[in-house]
């Protein structure tokens, strides 16, 4: 029998029991719907976590000074004078092969002022690579480039919080702000990044070229980088731990540490934190997907149940079909296709339902609504699989009926 004829028969048989078919389909609709929603929501949540961490920097390693120690009293992180400008240069010159971008980040909290308003904020002196590490673009104006950083003009790029606080939302480009009594020209406004994973306002910043920072704000102590860090962005996620080892080796060599000495610096690994967060999000997503799968299985059992009832009800019909020449495989195909149609039509409706649910959840939790074609393909395949798996047993029962018994069957 042609597949078209078989399909026609299946649709007709299901249409005859509309209510029953729709109710059976509901199980599949909810099953597929929840699976789809969970996959989509999982991707959204994962993306949201990834976005937070990528706003802090991609594959980022932060090198800081270690703790100072004098007479048993330890000064805390970053108090030791260990990192040197030579270390920075070595990193910038590519002595760590896995490093893609390297930027010094010197930060101090100061009072800044403009147009009669003042504000206490953190001012960062750095190089343009910093913007690359943090995936940061200018919303208005421009960022300063390598040449500017080298020449050290008194320019500043500010975050949106500063615009709100000092300029009350008016265009700050070309305006002057006073940082520690020194006038700087605002050349750019950074795109908003919102809160960091630690809850800090990432837009409450003023960023100036390193050279200007060192000459006007903090000249440091000789060859040492004080009150500063070095940001290193490694090439790929896989390079993170290798990069960490390479940096440590380089710094230990530069600082002439013996094998038994402790590190006089610290390397913080934000990427690892991000990966952990991602992993825990994945775990929750997997758990939800398993629960959703269960409801899909329940839906599939519903299909099997109704197909079994249908086979019994239609025993006589099966007998008639066999008497006129239907082979066992024909009967089997007919019932499997009916189960398949139930499951796939349910799957398509479930896809719509799941997409709606995912969209609602994305809106509610503020994720991006993602719905890749692969998800639809998976739903389709899963629905089809459910139809075949749960339709198989009833179909086999139908095909194994004895035509003589079936013809005698009284409904």
């Amino acid at each position: 029998m042609s597949i078209f004829t078989t399909l026609k028969l299946a649709f007709r048989a299901l249409w005859r029991n509309k209510v029953r078919s729709v109710l059976t389909m509901l199980g599949i609709i909810f099953g597929i719907g929840t699976v789809i929603a969970m996959i989509s929501a999982g991707q959204g949540a994962r993306q949201a976590v990834a976005d937070v961490f990528s706003s802090m920097g991609t594959n980022l390693l932060i090198v800081t000074n270690g703790s100072s120690q004098s007479g048993g009293a330890r000064g805390g992180a970053g108090t030791q004078m260990a990192l040197t400008w030579a270390d920075l240069e070595a990193l910038q010159n590519g002595e760590v092969p896995t490093a893609r971008y390297v930027a010094p980040v010197l930060t101090t909290k100061v009072q800044i002022a403009a147009e009669g308003q003042n504000w206490n904020t953190s001012v960062t002196g750095t190089t343009p690579e910093y913007f690359k590490i943090k995936n940061w673009d200018a919303k208005e104006g421009t960022l300063f480039d390598d040449d500017a950083a080298a020449a050290g003009p008194k320019v500043a790029v500010i975050g949106t919080t500063i615009v709100t606080q000092l300029f009350a939302g008016t265009n700050p480009i070309g305006q002057a702000i006073t940082i520690s009594g020194q006038p700087f020209e605002v050349v750019g406004v950074l795109a908003s990044k919102g809160q960091s994973a630690m809850g800090q306002d990432q837009d409450d910043v003023v960023i100036i070229p390193l050279k200007a920072y060192r000459s006007k704000l903090d000249s440091g102590v000789g060859k040492y980088i004080t009150r500063g860090q070095i940001y290193v962005s490694v090439k790929t996620e896989d390079d993170i731990s290798r990069g960490e080892q390479q940096i440590a080796a380089l710094l230990r060599q530069n600082h002439k540490l013996n094998a038994t000495d402790d590190d006089d610096f610290r390397i913080r690994n934000l990427a690892e934190l991000a990966l952990n967060r991602k992993a825990s999000t994945d775990k929750v997503t997997t758990l939800l997907a398993i629960v959703a799968m269960m409801s899909l299985v329940v839906g599939g059992i519903g299909v099997m149940n109704i197909m079994l009832v249908s086979v019994i009800e239609r025993t006589r019909e099966i007998g008639i079909r066999m008497a006129v020449g239907a082979k066992p495989i024909d009967v089997m195909t007919q019932f499997i296709v009916e189960a398949l149609v139930l499951a796939i039509v349910g799957g398509i409706l479930g896809l719509g339902f799941g997409a709606g649910l995912a969209k609602f959840m994305a809106g509610y939790y503020g994720w991006n609504f993602t719905f890749p074609a692969s998800t639809a393909a998976i739903a389709f395949a899963v629905a089809g699989g459910v139809g075949v798996v749960f339709g198989f047993y009833p179909a086999m029962r139908a095909s194994q009926l004895d035509p003589i018994q079936a013809l005698r069957y009284e409904t």
Partner: protein, 247 residues
């Protein structure tokens, strides 16, 4: 020889009992023959029909249908033989309910992979042969008993099977309608189709040229007679609508 049965035995196991429904039957039927199988209930005539119609297989013995041994075929092979060689007409019509007359007649062709348009054409022709070409879109419950049985005959005809097996074809019909149905079956016999009637009524068996009688699983009588003619087998429609569509 169209049907050649040799030493056919059929034993059913029912619980601890063995029921020997057929106990060694030899029967030859020529192509185009008109045959009635008679017997009381329990005589083995239903078993005989089931085996002859390839719905069942003998426990012992050989059955050659059109020269081919069909006594040891698989279920699928048997189904194929049924579809090509045998058209069934049942006492309770056994039409699919909520399915039009035309679709009922088309159904056997589906299983032979006949394409849709040709199916339609052949089914219409078959309905025409039983005088129902203007009822093709009626459902069984919109047809009288006689009309339903004629749809069933059209379904049996549609594959051009050489044998039509009619199991008590008039059992659910009144006298007048019975007459019409018998006339159609006789008409088919005249066209060269081998019509095998299975019945316990002698006045139905009287329509066949050859009558065999079964008792306790054996053929006890095999006689040839001049058949009673049921009429011209015209296209008269059943007068009285009847309930009783099957399936």
């Amino acid at each position: 020889m169209l049907v050649d049965m040799r030493g056919i035995e059929r034993t059913y196991i029912m619980g601890d009992n063995e029921v020997r429904a057929l106990r060694g039957v030899d029967l030859q039927i020529e192509k185009g023959a008109s045959l009635a199988i008679m017997g009381t209930s329990g005589s083995g005539k239903s078993t005989m029909m089931n085996i002859m119609g390839c719905l069942d297989q003998p426990t012992k013995g050989q059955y050659f249908l059109n020269g081919k041994d069909v006594s040891r075929l698989s279920r699928a092979q048997l189904a194929d033989v049924r579809g090509r060689m045998i058209g069934f007409v049942f006492q309770s019509f056994n039409l699919l309910s909520r399915t039009t007359a035309l679709e009922n007649v088309e159904m056997p062709l589906m299983y032979q992979g006949v394409p849709g348009r040709q199916r339609h054409k052949r089914a219409m022709e078959a309905l025409e042969r039983v005088g129902l070409h203007n009822r093709e879109h009626h459902h069984p419950n919109q047809l009288s008993g006689g009309q339903q049985q004629r749809v069933a005959i059209a379904r049996a005809l549609v594959c051009n099977a050489p044998i039509i097996m009619a199991d008590e074809p008039t059992g659910n019909l009144d006298t007048k309608t019975s007459h019409e149905v018998m006339a159609i079956l006789q008409g088919l016999g005249d066209q060269g189709i081998t019509v095998i009637l299975v019945t316990h009524e002698s006045d139905i068996a009287a329509h066949a040229r050859r009558v065999i009688t079964l008792r306790d699983g054996l053929i006890v009588d095999d006689k040839t007679q001049e058949p009673v003619r049921a009429g011209d087998g015209g296209a008269a429609t059943g007068a009285r609508p009847q309930e009783g569509s099957a399936a």
